[in-house]
Symmetry: D2
Subunit: 116 residues, 4 copies
């Protein structure tokens, strides 16, 4: 089932272990790979003006999905390698953001919590 | 349940909508934010030598979890906004990588599929 | 004289050598540091709307200068370490772009050379 | 003369103005482009082990030079657009680092100034 973070993570680790790649996937190199893939995802939007973005998203639908998957796959593996439960870590951060960005102060503006 | 991508995504979109932030979260700005957060995650490992990384991971365990969560939260929202099912997209990419990186050719080396 | 790439590069290498840092500054770690610093520079503009950017530039004038300097200092060192003459490499690229982006086809649009 | 930051900057701005691209080159989009190009530069070293880097540098000498040039060209333009003198800004930062990283405390270690 592809909605389960833990099952996807198991698939990813099975892929990695079948290739004996764990030795390459130390925390530093994983963080570098995640940043590089996030850069590739962003490449699709460099210099794009607002009115061009919709067309871009349609014309490059497959590549963009593929870049998002690249970042996500590495991120799931990274969290697992470090012994985090990704879903728990995300929920903790959402809860934290809920406090840092109170609805009444944040509504409709893009100020950082430190500027609220 | 924090293991479900779709339930976490619903939590994230509820958070965003409560603040009326969808208007800021266009595809370009989301890709930029994802890349910036991935850069923050990588910052923890800049200049770190192999033997320093373990200590770093322990000393900054909370911040690193928080950076991973930041990337993941934005990525889940991004995929959802573009109408992708993140889990499906990930599974398709894992299957694609399985073909691009045959176990017998990839085992124990870090060559790109184009170099195999 | 601070307008000379070679003199600034000498200053940077003198700084690095005085601290015996060349052993840390291998090509991979330098490229990672450059990307991380470029990410910090970009952080200033994440989520910023067009009409907010001017104010941002004024309010954070010193930090932004400092981030630009960080990227430039690492880039000058990187080019020098790899045995490139940065100025020559830049001029060669400008000349190359001049051909890839003919004025009559590129004027006023932001298409990539591959789309012209 | 390609050793002069100001002369290279003039060449870059002449290139940009001939194409009427200044309207696309706002501070945010420039910072995004710089980060994306720095990511491309880093791509050359993702997953590379220490013993592979030398070979990589030789085999991809032209592309790496080209990526360095891309980052530098955008950075020179960015500094100029914001009214900074890049050389001055770099010298000021080198001087600042000289204080933050005293030779006797920094020699041979890679600690951040905040950890010294």
């Amino acid at each position: 089932m592809s909605d389960s973070i833990s099952e996807l993570t198991t698939q990813i680790q099975t892929f990695v272990d079948a290739r004996d790649w764990r030795k390459f996937h130390n925390a530093k190199d994983l963080s570098v790979a995640i940043s590089a893939e996030a850069g590739e995802l962003m490449q699709h939007f460099v210099w794009q003006q607002e009115e061009q973005i919709e067309r871009r998203l349609e014309a490059h639908r497959e590549e963009i999905a593929s870049e998002i998957a690249d970042v996500a796959i590495l991120l799931f593996e990274f969290a697992d390698n470090l012994g985090y439960n990704l879903g728990d870590v995300m929920q903790a951060k959402i809860a934290h953001n809920d406090i840092r960005y109170p609805v009444d102060k944040s509504r409709g503006n893009n100020l950082k919590y430190s500027e609220l």
